[in-house]
């Protein structure tokens, strides 16, 4: 499992260097992401608790079954959301490639992959904007739930409240991620990192972007699949 070949554990703590062998900023990014994981975790656990405490719940396959340019009676559950999921996975892959290109000091490759990542993020946000708009026109919003429970009984507004709050919080993270990536792109294009001699900043932005993808894995499963 461990890849330490030369470093003996005691030497890591003998002072003079980071026992974690990462740069300070990256370590702090990890801790920030850990705290953010607790925030998202708290939201999702609150959702789970409410769902466990409620007798009925709407069937996600009946609620999320449309896609852009579909007729009003479209019945295609899971289709649109799986496209969104793949967009995010692919944008995560291009981010890894950007980070690796940065380690090789390959500016052009960093630029190309960052642009692809930004496009992926923008595509995901567009999908989410469409979905929110669609649900809003079906009568769903915070405090309003037009959907019935799977067994045909009256549903509570908890369903829409949790859906909009949690996907909204995630969408806000995607939005900040896109902004951060745009800043990284500008800094790369203006040779900021070339002058510094390293692309470590891209690695930190990359960590954040992967975290956004990670959270979507959980949100997607909790809201659309189960």
């Amino acid at each position: 499992m461990s890849t330490t070949t030369t470093a003996v554990p005691e030497k890591l703590w003998s002072g003079g260097k980071s026992p974690f062998k990462v740069e300070y900023g990256k370590l702090m990014m990890w801790y920030f992401l850990m705290s953010d994981a607790f925030t998202f975790g708290a939201f999702l656990i609150a959702y789970g608790t409410t769902r466990f405490a409620t007798n009925g719940w709407p069937n996600p396959n009946e609620v999320f079954r449309s896609y852009p340019f579909a007729s009003e009676n479209a019945n295609a559950p899971l289709v649109f959301v799986s496209i969104m999921t793949f967009i995010l996975i692919i944008s995560s892959v291009t981010m890894v490639l950007a980070v690796q290109a940065g380690q090789q000091m390959n500016k052009n490759k960093v630029v190309i992959n960052l642009i692809l990542t930004i496009l992926g993020g923008a595509a995901f946000l567009s999908c989410q904007a469409w979905e929110w708009n669609h649900l809003f026109h079906e009568g769903a919003w915070w405090g309003r739930n037009p959907f019935l429970n799977a067994d045909g009984t009256q549903s509570t507004t908890n369903f829409t409240n949790f859906f909009f709050t949690i996907t909204g919080f995630h969408g806000f993270h995607v939005f900040s991620g896109v902004i951060i990536n745009i800043i990284m792109l500008i800094m790369t294009l203006t040779d900021k990192f070339e002058k510094r001699g390293h692309y470590l900043m891209i690695e930190k932005a990359g960590l954040y972007w992967h975290f956004v993808d990670l959270v979507w894995v959980f949100v997607f499963t909790c809201f659309y699949l189960i």
Binding site: A7, P19, K21, A37, A46, T85, I89, S92, T153
Partner: protein
Amino acid sequence: MEHTVDAEHHGGGTKEVIKVTIILSVLTVIELALGFAMMGMENGGLRLAIKGAIVILMLAKAFYIVGYFMHLKHEVKNLIMTIVVPLLLFVWFITAFLYEGNSFKHLKNTYDPYKKELSTKKAEKKEETKEIKAEEKKKAVE
């Protein structure tokens, strides 16, 4: 997990990225297939089992994203521990809160029959929303 020479130095390389991408895609496709299989299924043991399988696949995806894309698997053990050990609190959070939610439901259903009756009554919301929509359309026309 076997690691290549590449993985020992930088932990990565394009090969690993491609491999992880394929794994993530396959896991997602399996999740979706299970989601489709679950449709229209009655609430019961099998449905719960499929949900459990989906959760396990979700955790596997999380492992691949954090371990390889976020590179945590190739970091020093100290760093891995400071991130992973606090996250173990989630095990207790999830167990305790879901148990609590379930218990609340049972208590409510046992001691508040009115609420229970309400929650088993079929709703007629569908027509209502249609009326609202028709009204909105009228307004839009005006």
